[in-house]
Amino acid sequence: MVRVKNRYIVVRIAPKNTSLSSLYVKEQVLAKCILNHVEKYYGVYGVGLLEHGFRVKYCNDRTKIAILRCSHHSYKFVTSILPLMTSVGDVPAKFNTIYTGATIMQCNKFIIKHQQNFLDRMVGQVVSAKERQEMIKRVIEFDTS
């Protein structure tokens, strides 16, 4: 039995306006934006290869982290155009690939570790206890639907 191999790409979306607390970007908008860029840089051939199996599995507005699923033979089309993308929907933003994994569980583990590191760095800077609680709640809020 032949298994369908996938690759999961974890990207951090860094908006130009850093004060933005939430990205109001839907999963479909993000997927369409990436497919449009692949068409621009790799033509209809690239889109044809990528479309089979491409999906935005998870997109968190607050933490600005998304997981993209691609098939094993076409994930390089995505990873190579991500640095060239300058906006998502109407929001000017940069895309940083932070991890590429073969299973979504590995990506989850990585994101949790990544958030933990982020919390360790940030918690010390927040003065009031209430704000700190809020921030921890916001960052830890992570579910894979």
Binding site: V38, K40, Y41, Y42, G43, V44, Y45, G46
Partner: protein, 100 residues
Amino acid sequence: MNDYIYLDVELKLKEDSSAVLTPAYFQGSIERSLAEFFGEIGGQTELELLKFDCTQKRGILKVPKEFSSKTKAAITLIGRFQDIPCHFAIVKTSDKPLEL
């Protein structure tokens, strides 16, 4: 040693009347097709038209070897030349230009 491949390409138009055929238009249509099917990154190559015969609508192209399959695909998929239905036929391919 020889990193290029030479293609003898013939353009076959449905009707001959209104088409303006120049070497630049001929090469342009192939380059446009490459950009459409393989995009800005995938479709970039050094494509050179060595010889062109307007009466026979036939030309000899020089492309890098590793890019020959993409070029052949793009040439085959062209369906229109200046809005006239057409097709391109690759008559012969060779490693050496003298063989064509």
